[in-house]
Amino acid sequence: MSEFFIEDELTGKAYDSRLMRRLVAYLRPYRGHVFLAAVLLLVGSALQLVGPVIVKYAIDNYIAKHDLPGLTGICAIYLGILIVSFFLTWAQIYTMEWVGQMTVYRLRMEVFNHIQTLDISFFEKNPVGRVLTRVTGDINALNELLSSGVVTIIGDVVVLFGIVGFMLAIDLKLALVTLTVIPFLALSAFLFRARVRDVYREIRRQIARLNAFIQEHVSGVSIVQFFGQEKRTLAKFASINRDLMREHQRSVIYYAVFFPVIRILSALSLALIIWYGGGEVIAGAMTFGTLVAFTQYIERFFRPIMDLSEKYNILQSAMASAERVFKLLDTKPVFMDTPHALGWSDCKGAVKFDSVSFAYNANDWVLKNVSFEIKPGEKVAIVGATGAGKTTITGLLLRFYDHQRGSIYLDDIDIKRIRTSDLRRHIGLVLQDVFLFSGELDKNIRLGDSSITDDKLHAAAHDVNLDRFISSLPGGYKFKTGERGVSLSVGQKQLLSFARALARDPRILILDEATSSVDTETEMLIQEALDRLMENRTSIIIAHRLSTIKKVDRILVMHKGQIRESGTHAELLQMKGIYWKLYQLQYRLQDAAVKSPQESEVAK
């Protein structure tokens, strides 16, 4: 599990041109808007910087010359500029935010869509939480980078250059004198950046360590308690926690030094203005207004620099998020439909496995040379001990995985040649652990298939004995189940999953029978529903109930990845082979249960 956190550390670069280029590519469809925002930003920033110039003119041309109407006039102009710049800035912020949100929207859709195409094995290797974070948290971090980050950074940079430009335009010599601090500024920014990048990388590493520690000790909290190691574990945690704190405090020092340095450099510029500028005023080579305008520009010049350094951390973590999101997008599904995959509309329901072998991990064969044939409409049960390979057979049939050797045919067509969506349309899957989506019951039965009419849906619910229960609920079919269907009983959930399959009327039914016991009445309802479900369909059932086994046409006995026996219940029992032993182990009790109800509690 701690691998999750290790992966989340990644490189921790604040700026990665490869990632940035890829991110910026997402802005392409909105380049018109980006251009507009850039223009607005330029004009808006320029207008903001006009302030000190106006102050200069007001002082030099009107206040110094005691020209009240002139002062009123220039103030009116200033007010106009303020109002215009207000709208420009607003429009610019909103435009850029819009672009950012749209980009994030598209990126999020892309990631979600991508997840819909990934192999089932991907989800077995990656915990839900990790994948979820890519769609949610990581993309939100990118939003911060795109809509606020990029724009404010560009804005800050524009303002910086703008100020330098205005100062140069107003008084070249004073500007050059004032700006002699820039090399020092650049040097301190450079030193600061290098250290901060380092320390944040270290901080992320420590956070990962801390989270991994918690993760592990929460899982093993009983061991900690049973061995009386609470104090020592806390001490270990505290030491990791202390390491993290030390790194954080190191970053505090960097900021604590950097900000005063900026303030002092800013004062240095101010001192230069007073000393050099004042001298020029004495010499009559410079006006008061210029002097005042410069003092105002200096105040504005250092603000964006502080701003940029504050945003450094955000930029860094957003880059890490971008890296993770792109890594997910670069994870290609291992198998996909071949370009010339067949559409398949008419299914009869014949299934054939021809020497199929399959391994999840190389050379660790879970299925070995499995061959069998099922005729259309035949009902077949697969039995075997845990780990015999039963579920794998159904997974291959649905193409959750691709087999490495042999072939699987449906109606004599190799399933690798059939379009996956068509293949799955004809196969109804009922899983042992019924997964309910939060939302209305009808939605849970329909599962996004809009071709299922209300009538069809109600008929399906009726046929699996679910309608009476549903109509007893508040809202009937519109009753909302909570996540994982807290409010439905195990038996009701099973019936609902039957209804799901039945409503689609698949040619082939795959049923992983639930092992959990239900009360006798529900058991009867389930048995009845099962009969209707299997009617006129090829049915493949991973059976756990004796009653089901007795009902089917044929039983395939799987043992250690191979089909070892096949036949009807009675035939197999007579063979006294694997099935006979399995029967003694798994099913005989159910026979006994009929005789002594006391034991029915047992199977759990």
Binding site: A58, I59, I63, C75, S85, T89, I93, Y94, W98, Y105, R108, M109, I115, Q116, I120, V131, T136, L210, I214, V218, G220, V221, I223, V224, Q225, F226, F227, G228, A238, N241, R242, H248, I253, Y255, A256, F259, P260, R263, S266, A267, L268, L272, I274, G278, G279, F288, T295, E299, S421, R424, L429, L431, F435, G448, E483, R504, I578, L582, Q598, K604
Partner: protein
Amino acid sequence: MASRQTETKGDIKRVYRHIVRYKKHFAAGAVAILLTNAFGMVAPWLIKDAIEMLEGGTATSARLLNYALAVIAVSLLSGFFLYFLRRTIIWASRYIEYDIRNEITSKLLGLPRSYYNVTPTGDIIVRLSSDVEAVRMMIGPGIMQFSNTIVAGSIAIALMFILSPTLTLVALLPFPILAYTFKKVAFRVYSLAFQIQNHFSTMSAFVQENIAGVRIVRSYNQESSQTSEFESLNKDYIGLNLKLAKLQGLFQPVVMLEVGVILLVVLYFGGIQVINGSLTLGVLVAFLLYLMMLVWPVMAIGWTITLYQRGMASQKRIDAILDIIPDVRDSEQVSEATNLKPEIEFRNLSFAYPGTARTILKDVTLSVPAGKTTAFVGRTGCGKSTLLDLMMRAYRVEDGVLLIGGRDINSIPLSQLRRFIGYVPQESFLFSDTLYENISFGLQEVNRERSETSASLAKLSGDIAEFPNRFETLVGERGITLSGGQKQRAALARALARDPQILILDDAFSAVDTSTEEQILTGIESVVKSRTTIIVSHRVSTVKRADLIHVLDGGRVIDSGSHGELLERCELYADIVSRQELEEQLEQL
């Protein structure tokens, strides 16, 4: 779900308590704030004097240089204290963060199983990271920024008032409007942000289901319908965000506009006063500079409000952990028991897991005699593991009595009880640490010899000799992966190293084959003989060794006796034995 709690606030006393602990840091920080602002505010005054000197024509290059040097001097002082501002308050906030994390973790380590059964690990991690960080932001940057705004504002306004009372009044006139805008916008921003959080939860829950239910999604070809549903959620989410953007996007320009207007007002009325001679140009310039210095502190108010709200919401989520009163804890009457005899007795004990209705153990009365080996057998779900959990006091016994050495288990200190018992769990859990650390996990001090002896008793020495770093080999994610059997033997060694009075083996050898299990059990025979041993196993060969076997069914003890006795008279026991034989036969096919 968690975000819905945002409206309520945490316990402010807890926040104060942290601040009080570092009162020296905060006091020093307060001084630093005062001084850095005081010195910072001198510069505009110096500029005023310099300009007045220039206006009056008394300026010389030397005098200007003095002013320039004075500006640098005060900024050095101001910068010096600015350094201490972060070095004290933010520094302390990192200590507080450290303390809070330790406090939560300490609490977590004492919480019983009943808490962990219902709390996802992810939730715990979020509280320990994001929530603690939010509280720190409130205590550190929040307090720093808020105090700074107050101090900078007061000093600047006071100085402006000294310079020109009338101009100050004029300049402050638009401030109420500014404050009003803040309040208005801040409130709407907050309520929108709240909606966005909720919507985000909904969206996350949807994606979570989509991923968790991937098999159903795929087999029912739901990909496109799921995508379109997600699209609409995503669209709504973006819509809300844009609404917020419109509002927040307004915020910055409005502040800029209002600041601009204030500047303009000062320029205009100040200009008039300069024209009619009642004000010097220097004062006007100083005024403008002070106003500029106020812009950022004022803008930061909105930020500090958010920090406070988020911090208090997080504090509440932290309180939720800290306020738990565990159902398993030492009561006041506990006292260390002397000469505790290693025997266990259940008297009419019934048990259901907290928060559930199903009774797992029903009126159980049985004894585990001292110095003997006792085994529990029964089918899956018959209550064996629950019995063991209760002996370790993982849960509280409420109905019936559980005696250890004749004393009520609730009256024995937890620490003593657990020192008394060595436990080898069903799922052998090892920490990602060295093998040595894992085996000596339960020892109070370093004892190499004992760890090695235990490892050899557990038949692990041979394996260890082949590991790259022997005892110092890291196991788990960052080290080598042990096989199931190796893990179980390491877990056995860990329990043996503590030299417990009672040894509990909860199906502890399921991952080794029967002959290895035989070897291990023979190896620890000397240990087992001298103490009380409790065995739960599916293997008849293991159970057979026990002096006393309790057969459980449906939460009740249905029979007790030796292997031979039970085989003869207990149908269930005979059945379990024959099933086990069948399983072994199947395995060999």
